[in-house]
């Protein structure tokens, strides 16, 4: 062994535990409570390597330390050929232990530590097995489908009421103090929303996403059992506020009421007096072929 065997700087468990406790305590004192929303893949496209139907169906509160003290980073607000885009970034630090605790839904003490059974196993919430996490008898842990923050997950930042996407998780930002790693640094950017479905159970977030969604089917009438209310033709029925009917053209969702810069209906209205529609607009829909 090349290093001095009488100095143990990197493998002393009690010091590491003390250090970790201090980190957690610091984050609890100076951090902010955010909502962590893991991404659920619904339909992964193995060709393009993307998931177009991601769902965010959980929102877990966990404290994180905001590393940026002078405001959000990134490109900020900019005007592009597509309209106004905002690319704020934020770097957040979360304790590894606290992230696992929050994610695994263990029963915790008031101070934020897991309750341990006599045999060393952690106590889990009764509903845990329904959440997709498997308790492993005899072990001192749980097997969860996600054991670290993942790129692509979302974070609701309450101070600005905005949703950030985790772009990169850095676990070696603080380089092995006392021989181990205690935190994740999450490098986040404001989320590019593409009408993903939010069913987190947090009414505020779910409503926020629904209000921004351009998904026509998000406005469908549902029966009490959750099935769609259909017409005789099999078409679904959408809320009146989500549809427009001008010049016998039905597009289903009023884009302009959702997107302030959109001009879809403006062009439609203006074109009535400009374009001779005896030739039908080919882009109005398949049924107009």
């Amino acid at each position: 062994m090349a290093t001095n065997q009488f100095f143990n700087n990197f493998n002393f468990g009690q010091t590491q535990t003390l250090y970790e406790n201090l980190v957690i305590e610091s984050i609890k004192m100076y951090g902010a409570d955010v909502l962590y929303m893991p991404r659920t893949l619904v339909k992964e496209d193995v060709l393009y390597r993307e998931d177009t139907l991601s769902i965010f169906d959980d929102a877990i509160e966990v404290e994180m330390y905001v590393k940026d003290v002078e405001g959000f980073g990134g490109d900020g607000d900019l005007l592009s050929r597509f309209g106004v885009e905002v690319y704020d970034t934020v770097n957040l630090t979360v304790s590894k232990k606290r992230f696992n605790q929050a994610r695994a839904e263990n029963l915790m003490l008031e101070v934020g530590y897991n309750m341990i059974q006599e045999d060393g196993d952690e106590l889990l919430l009764e509903s845990e097995t329904d959440q997709g996490y498997n308790f492993i008898p005899g072990s001192n842990t749980t097997s969860v489908s996600m054991y670290r923050p993942r790129e692509g997950d979302l974070i609701h930042f309450p101070l600005s009421n905005t949703v950030f996407e985790v772009k990169f998780v850095e676990d070696e930002e603080t380089f092995y103090p006392h021989g181990t790693l205690y935190t994740y640094e999450l490098r986040c950017e404001l989320f590019q929303f593409s009408s993903e479905r939010f069913t987190t159970g947090n009414t505020s977030i779910d409503t926020m996403a629904l209000n921004e969604s351009l998904d026509l089917r998000a406005s469908e009438f549902l029966l009490e059992d959750g099935n769609k209310l259909l017409t005789e033709d099999g078409d679904s029925i959408i809320f009146e506020s989500a549809s427009i009917d001008s010049d016998d053209v039905q597009i289903g969702v009023n884009v302009e009421s959702i997107d302030g810069l959109a001009q879809n209906d403006f062009y439609r209205q203006q074109s009535i007096s400009i374009i001779d529609f005896s030739e039908r607009n080919p882009f109005a829909g398949v049924q107009d072929y």
Partner: protein, 286 residues
């Protein structure tokens, strides 16, 4: 020199035409069983805009931007205008239209000037599949042109078939780099609109209702001899005329046409769209 006060909003109409082509595009997302579970309407907007207006429209109370941007979306802009000499029309040709309010007045306009108007349409998507869906809804309709019948000059009742030609399709996918850089997946479609720009419309207040033709024989060489009549080949005054042909429309009071001027109502009471006849009288001054 060009100080005619007129504006037909023609370029504005071309912009609306392009915007209207792509304002009903939707992206369908299916689950693993092939069932459509999402139908996303794609917003479209003209790209260039006043910055302050975009800012206050998007952020009326500075608390409205929950996300970076909503995707997919389409932006477009008019990029250039180029004269199209191959479509040049006879510049002396006039288009006429009878005034809608005054049957004695005409509106006249010289031939429009052909211009190729270039447009670029940009598509920003988050998923590659969204982009290909949008493209496949557009491309089949351009072979490579798509014809729109446009009411470009309603003042002149002038409808024109305007071809829009798809000249190129390109994509840019910035997917490489470090993980903190966002992926930017855009498609660009370039179009050429074979349009026209229109000159001013002028009022022609007086219809020509009668003609007087004075005739004489000018000085000429005939059979190697010079015949002198005293009249040069120029404007012939009434006193110099050997003969005069006078023509006018003739209409009886009951609205039937006639060729007898003495039976006709005065010229001022005959309109262009009446069913009139012609009266011609020839006077000899020899």
């Amino acid at each position: 020199m060009f100080g005619h006060k007129f504006y037909h909003s023609t370029l504005r109409k071309y912009v609306i035409m392009i915007g209207n082509m792509f304002n009903d595009i939707e992206v369908a997302r299916t689950d693993n069983s092939g069932n459509v579970v999402q139908t996303i309407a794609v917003p479209i907007a003209y790209g260039p805009k006043q910055k302050w207006l975009a800012r206050v429209t998007n952020f009326p109370d500075l608390n409205d931007q929950k996300f970076a941007v909503t995707l997919p979306r389409i932006g477009f802009e008019m990029t250039s205008l180029n004269y199209a000499p191959e479509r040049r029309l006879n510049s002396l040709q006039n288009h006429y239209k009878l005034s809608a309010t005054d049957s004695k007045a005409l509106k006249a306009m010289y031939s429009p000037v052909p211009y190729d108007i270039e447009f670029s349409v940009y598509i920003l998507v988050k998923n590659a599949e969204d982009g290909t869906q949008i493209l496949e809804q557009i491309l089949p309709f351009f072979t490579p042109e798509f014809m729109s019948t446009m009411r470009l000059m309603p003042e002149m009742d002038l409808n024109l078939d305007v071809p829009t030609i798809l000249t190129s399709v390109s994509s840019e996918d910035v997917y490489d780099g470090n993980f903190e850089e966002r992926r930017a997946l855009t498609w660009q479609l370039d179009f050429t609109v074979k349009g026209y720009i229109f000159p001013p419309v002028r009022d022609r207040s007086g219809l020509i209702k009668s003609t007087t033709i004075n005739m004489n024989i000018p000085n000429m060489e005939f059979d190697n001899q010079t015949v002198t009549t005293g009249i040069s080949n120029s404007v012939i005054s009434n006193t110099e005329a050997l003969g005069t042909v006078f023509s006018r429309p003739a209409l009886k009071a009951d609205g039937t046409p006639t060729s007898n001027a003495s039976l006709s109502v005065p010229l001022s009471q005959i309109d262009a769209d009446d069913d009139y006849g012609f009266s011609t009288s020839i006077t000899e001054n020899i």
